[in-house]
């Protein structure tokens, strides 16, 4: 495990880390990808569909960064457009209709900053996901596997359980962005990373996540097997909960409350 938080940021961004599709292929069986938001386009930065988890049908959704230069360009470096978030919501609603749990894998530097993204309502798309996920009546587990960049990550993160890989980061703004706004100096990113409290341990102590996943054997069979077991167990617990939505509300409701003066 690395020392300073900024090292974690760099680790979380490594292109060699397993990406969303690696998790889908290795944890689930029979993944069937569904495309498109039914409004405008299919966003390659978000992958979603149905699969089986130890036999149980689930809807899986992942932000995909890609590994090679070609893949990363195709996936827009894991920076989704509004249509990606709308596809994700469409698939979650479909999961709700058919009583399937939802598992999301989050890995993005943030929702894409672009002209088209603004023209097609990036803010509205994220807002709608936050609202609709809060009352989705099937269990939702979200796992931050690399970068958890602000609203673009949270748009798949309004879940009953949120877990983070040991070296994943979750932040309201990138350390570089923070340093350049507050201190007019992107080079102070290391200080910003420390101040933002963006590591998995920080997120856990702030009550933002429930569990930190070890990166032992990262990308190996044992690693994915471990996550598969954890997901199966947790989904079994959540599936039997008659007050899923109430507890999800309370889960977010208390964040930041005790920190007030």
């Amino acid at each position: 495990m690395s020392g300073v938080p900024y090292d974690r940021v760099k680790l979380a961004r490594e292109s060699s880390r397993p990406t969303g599709l690696d998790y889908i292929r290795n944890i689930f069986k029979g993944f069937f990808e569904f495309h498109g938001d039914r409004c405008y386009a299919d966003d390659p930065a978000i992958v979603g569909g149905i699969a089986r988890l130890n036999g149980m049908p689930v809807t899986v959704i992942a932000i995909e960064k890609g590994h090679t230069a070609k893949e990363r360009t195709y996936r827009n470096f894991g920076a989704p457009h509004p249509e990606g978030y709308r596809k994700a919501l469409r698939l979650m609603k479909q999961a709700e209709k058919f009583g399937r749990p939802v598992v999301c894998f989050i890995d993005t530097s943030g929702a894409y900053c672009g002209i088209g993204a603004e023209e097609r309502g990036q803010g509205q798309a994220i807002a709608e996901n936050l609202m609709e996920m809060s009352t989705l009546c099937v269990p939702v587990i979200s796992i931050l596997i690399g970068e958890g960049g602000s609203g673009g990550a949270l748009a798949l993160g309004v879940a009953d359980r949120v877990w983070m890989l040991q070296n994943a980061v979750y932040s309201v703004i990138s350390p570089e962005g923070c340093a350049s706004i507050l201190w007019k100096d992107p080079a102070k990113a290391e200080a910003a990373a420390a101040s933002l409290k963006l590591t998995a341990e920080d997120a856990k102590s702030l009550g933002v996540i429930e569990r930190i996943l070890s990166e032992k054997d990262l990308g190996q069979k044992e690693f994915y097997d471990r996550i598969r077991v954890l997901l199966s167990e947790e989904l079994r617990v959540l599936s039997g909960d008659p007050d899923l939505i109430g507890k999800r509300y309370d889960r977010f409701r208390r964040i930041g409350t005790k920190e007030l003066l």
Partner: protein, 286 residues
């Protein structure tokens, strides 16, 4: 609605400053220069016209001033004024910043919440404060907005909200980010109870506030020339290396792209809000 072509209003947040100069500083000055028509307008004239220049440019307005403009007489009763942010992450400089901003703005936090009557119609009202860290949302803003929607749901009241925000408050890190989810869930509960939420987006409404409760209203209105968007224009320019289209992220642009219901001049806001509140009292099924 015919609208004037505005010049890009100064977005002080994007310029890198965190607080605009408090309005009080203008008190001694006889005139204010309009960024649209470039004329010096006597302050008394601006104040008499709810801070709208004769050319139509809408200056930013303090939250309390807006409440006086919108709420009937003395009908506004403030709620949750005791909620304010500390420095939960011990973020460098944040404590001092809060103290300075509190002294300069006269507000404890970046949103003022309460109950009010608008044209005789009872409602919950929130107005964000641009002079408090550009209306940024930290734990206290999230808690106040959430508490207001819960109060409104409990008392079966509609919510009227005026937004102005640079987004989530970075000095409270993840706690700020989570307020987006928290407020959205409260808006959803209020909405699922069949209650009305009217939002008026004012300059600027951006970032995490756009991506949460600003865009979640049943009816979304905006002031003319207001910047409404998710990502900052400068960041988009730097990321894409492309020139931004004319009027990019202005309320007129956002209207054209289908994300707001209409643009409403300040002078018409009270009458329109009252009428919308009244219309929603009636239901075919009683």
């Amino acid at each position: 609605m015919a609208l004037i072509n505005f010049l890009k209003p100064k977005n002080k947040l994007e310029e890198g400053g965190r607080t605009a100069a408090p309005v009080q500083q203008d008190a001694g000055e006889p005139e204010k220069n309009c960024p649209n028509c470039h004329k010096d307008i006597p302050l008394s004239r601006l104040w008499a016209n709810d801070l709208v220049c004769p050319c139509g440019y809408h200056f930013r307005m303090k939250a309390r001033q807006r409440i006086r403009m919108i709420a009937d007489g003395e009908s506004f009763h403030e709620l949750f004024s005791e909620m304010r942010s500390g420095n939960p992450l011990h973020f460098p400089g944040y404590k001092d910043k809060l103290e300075t901003v509190r002294a300069a703005s006269g507000e404890e936090e970046a949103v003022v919440c309460g109950t009010a009557r608008i044209g005789g119609q009872s409602c919950c009202l929130f107005v964000m404060e641009s002079y408090f860290m550009m209306g940024s949302m930290g734990s206290a803003v999230g808690e106040k907005i959430t508490s207001l929607f819960e109060y409104a749901a409990e008392h079966r009241l509609p919510v009227v909200g005026f937004t102005v925000s640079g987004g989530a408050r970075m000095q409270e890190g993840l706690l700020s980010l989570m307020q987006m989810a928290k407020t959205s869930a409260a808006v959803k509960r209020h909405s699922d109870a069949g209650l009305l939420y009217l939002a008026v987006l004012t300059d600027p409404t951006t970032g995490g506030v756009t991506a949460s409760f600003a865009m979640e209203a049943d009816i979304i209105l905006a002031e003319p020339g207001a910047t409404v968007g998710f990502a900052g224009a400068r960041v988009i320019e730097q990321t894409t290396k492309k020139a931004l289209p004319a009027g990019f992220q202005k309320s007129e642009f956002v209207l054209e792209h289908g994300f707001i219901d209409g643009i409403v001049l300040r002078a018409d806001q009270k009458r329109l809000l009252a009428e919308l509140l009244k219309i929603h009292e009636w239901r075919v099924n009683g």
